[in-house]
């Protein structure tokens, strides 16, 4: 595996390898001194064409914990704003001897294009509506830890059936919200179904992409149908401008029909796990009680964030050759 561009094209063996490595790295995050020398002398550049707090910080922290240099390019202040092409930017970063580029870009396919023009590893941190593979992986790791391992033990090695690690067969994951514009929903479909989970998509017809029935999912516009018997409910962020673009009559109506509330969760499995990639719009796609896990509701939103660091450490480690043993 040279790059991590999307879970659609990532082999199941590579997905398992990343998850296993991430599970092992979680132990480092539990230490009082979070620093290992594994990637000393390597440099990761984050190239973000879209604003981001958690993803960029998560990558930066992951690199620093592993002793790699983390350099952030603020696109607005760079030569990119002078019209430099993505191809030239990538060639420049490579010539600066970066060991890995983490890219976020509003155009779908930008990460694939970056990988075509650069020999160094490219990690897709979100490209348009296409994929956000590290988010998908951290979601899978979170589901695995909550629903399969059955405990929130951060030192658990992450393997139950040694022949089929991270197998999610038997679990049903409902993804609710703005599916048309969601790279998170797409990455999760490919990752979850490769590991055996069943995926349901639910959202208003105006926010569902055409012909998505051909994806390995079940589509419904009824929240109740999507929730019934679900093991996991993944709530997507609703971009507030969707209403202005005429895709929704009002946020009020959206909240009423598709908002995830303690009441709508009643038809799900009693131990249903609620997830959200953040940042949340409390009171719109998710009620505050659900987000905060009030009244025995199991919400894993903060675990997702922590697992994000572990997953990104694993990706950097596997792609920057930390495992090759040639660094010391």
């Amino acid at each position: 595996m040279k790059d991590l561009l999307g879970l659609q094209q990532t082999d199941i063996s590579d997905i398992r390898r990343i998850l296993e490595t991430a599970s092992n790295f979680k132990e480092i995050l539990a230490r009082p001194v979070k620093k290992v020398p594994t990637l000393r002398g390597r440099s990761m550049i984050t190239l973000f064409y879209e604003s981001s707090t958690r993803t960029r910080t998560s990558f930066e922290l992951a690199a620093k914990i592993m002793s790699a240099e983390a350099i952030n390019i603020a696109v607005a202040q760079s030569s990119i704003s002078k019209g430099e092409s993505l191809k030239d930017t990538l060639r420049t970063l490579q010539s600066l001897t970066a060991d890995c580029v983490v890219i976020r870009h509003p155009s779908s396919g930008a990460a694939e294009m970056a990988a075509e023009y650069a020999d160094i590893p490219i990690i897709n941190a979100g490209d348009g509506r296409h994929e956000h593979p590290t988010q998908g992986l951290l979601d899978i790791l979170t589901i695995w830890q909550h629903k399969v391992v059955g405990r929130e033990d951060e030192t658990y090695p992450g393997v139950i059936n040694p022949n089929r690690p991270f197998d999610l067969t038997g679990l049903t994951v409902a993804i609710i919200g703005d599916l048309a514009h969601s790279r998170v929903a797409r990455s999760n479909v490919w990752g979850l179904t490769k590991l055996g989970a069943k995926v349901r998509w639910c959202g208003p017809k105006t926010l569902v992409p055409v012909e998505c029935e051909r994806l390995p999912i079940t589509l419904t516009h009824s929240l109740e149908e999507a929730m019934t018997g679900a093991d996991v409910v993944m709530v997507l962020r609703l971009q507030l401008e969707r209403q202005e673009k005429g895709l929704l009559p009002s946020l009020r109506e959206y909240c009423k029909i598709w908002g995830v509330t303690p009441k709508s969760l009643q038809v799900a499995k009693p131990d249903v796990l609620v997830m959200h990639p953040g940042p949340m719009n409390r009171g719109i796609e998710i009620s505050a009680d659900v987000a905060d896990g009030v009244g025995g509701i199991r919400a894993a939103i903060e675990d997702q964030v922590t697992n994000g660091v572990a997953v990104r450490m694993a990706c950097l480690y596997l792609l920057m050759g930390g495992g090759s043993g040639d660094d010391e």
Partner: protein
């Protein structure tokens, strides 16, 4: 001076001729067809084993001059045309300045006479600067030599503007060629809306955006009595609307190009910007409808929408890369391989759709080998095989989805007004 094309299989659908014979060309005009081996002349070209046809005419080409000579110019574009077997091309008005004044029309015609390897007929823009509001001086454009009027690349959204444009064109009998797109439905779209766009996360261009615009333009053509020509048909819906309009006696014609019958939106997978054009590649169902439309005559002719773009423009993010692909050099082989060898069209029908009918639609010289007509001739070698590669493309640009494809069929040489053009 006379030129003899000897012993070729002369196919001229305009006269129902298909036989081995000699074609005699005198002072730039066809003087006649005589029995094989009997022609005598100053210059003799042996065409044994080759097909001698009226020169192919592509009525939908972007030559990019003036303004975008880094993509293509009249010299390189007509060289690509000649290499592809075309003796004449009609060039679209989205240049800079756009072809919206007589001066630009004359400039292009003069330049083509100086450097061209094929005839060039400029198409005038329907509105000034192609901005979609004020009409161009259409009478002036026509008198300077514009062969048609078009809104290609900047489709008129306002139905009232289109109505007045059609009325104005109708009084001069000039054909209006429309790019059919309701942009309210395509805004931001970069590829066909379907499963591929969903998986790739690329904003889609729904098929109905073409169908709705076609329906509107057909209805306005009926209202105004304008001669309407539908550019680059990409959907099954358009084929059906065109079929019905013809049955209703409305003056409307249509064209499609090889990519719309040989490729689907699968070709965009991997974010291949050389498979990005507008209208976009569609679905197998659309391919089939277009092939059926070509076969039953609903789609009158074949045109390429040759649209060169520089490599650095195509080497961009998929949604930012410009729309358009090359077409001139692959059109005949793609037609021969995918329509003739598969039995959809006879060779005579294919030549009809690439030469005689396009000439008839726009009233151009050529499209026939009748005595006295201009000596525009394409000599085709059906046994020619070649591979599409950057170094054998004559166009300045290399943006073709057929890169690396094996081609069967091509031009041995062309004759334009008696002058021979042999591809390198």
């Amino acid at each position: 001076m006379n030129l003899i094309l000897k012993n070729g299989r002369i196919i001229d659908p305009s006269q129902n001729i298909d036989r081995i014979a000699d074609l005699i060309i005198e002072d730039g005009n066809v003087s006649g067809i005589v029995d094989a081996g009997t022609g005598v002349g100053d210059v003799v070209r042996d065409c044994t084993g080759l097909v001698v046809a009226p020169g192919l005419i592509d009525i939908h080409v972007h030559l990019r001059e003036p303004g975008f000579e880094y993509k293509e110019d009249i010299e390189s574009g007509t060289r690509a045309a000649a290499a592809g077997g075309f003796t004449a091309v009609c060039c679209m008005p989205n240049t800079n300045p756009s072809i919206d004044t007589a001066a630009v029309v004359r400039q292009i015609i003069e330049r083509a006479e100086q450097v061209g390897s094929a005839r060039v007929y400029p198409i005038g823009g329907l509105t000034r600067n192609m901005a979609g509001d004020q009409l161009s001086e259409i009478a002036d454009l026509i008198s300077a030599g514009a062969c048609a009027i078009s809104d290609d690349a900047f489709p008129i959204q306002n139905a009232e503007t289109m109505r007045r444009g059609m009325e104005y064109c109708a009084q001069f009998g000039v054909t209006l060629m429309t790019h059919n797109e309701d942009q309210a439905l395509t805004h931001g779209g970069a590829m066909n809306e379907g499963y591929n766009s969903t998986v790739m996360g690329v904003p889609g261009i729904p098929r109905v955006s073409e169908d709705i615009a076609v329906a509107r333009n057909i209805m306005l053509a009926k209202l105004t009595g304008s001669k309407l020509h539908l550019l680059h048909i990409s959907t099954a819906g358009t084929v059906e609307l065109l079929r019905r309009a013809k049955a209703d006696g409305i003056m409307v014609t249509g064209e499609s190009g090889p990519h719309y019958w040989a490729l689907t939106d699968d070709a965009t997978q991997g974010y291949n910007t050389n498979a990005k054009m507008n209208p976009p590649l569609r679905t197998p169902e659309d391919n089939e409808a277009i092939i059926a439309g070509l076969k039953d005559g609903t789609i009158d002719c074949i045109a390429t929408d040759h649209a060169p773009h520089a490599p650095y423009e195509k080497e961009q993010e998929f949604d930012r890369a410009p729309f358009g692909i090359l077409g001139l050099e692959t059109c005949f082989p793609m037609t021969y391989m995918r329509l003739v060898q598969t039995g959809v069209l006879t060779l005579n029908e294919a030549i009809n759709k690439m030469s005689c009918i396009p000439a008839k639609i726009l009233g151009l010289p050529g499209g026939t080998l009748a005595p006295g007509s201009v000596a525009d001739v394409t000599v085709l070698d059906l046994n020619k095989t070649w591979t599409v590669a950057p170094n054998n493309i004559n166009s300045k640009s290399k943006n073709t989805p057929f890169m690396g494809w094996e081609m069967v069929g091509g031009a041995a040489f062309t004759v334009v007004g008696g002058r021979i053009f042999t591809p390198d």
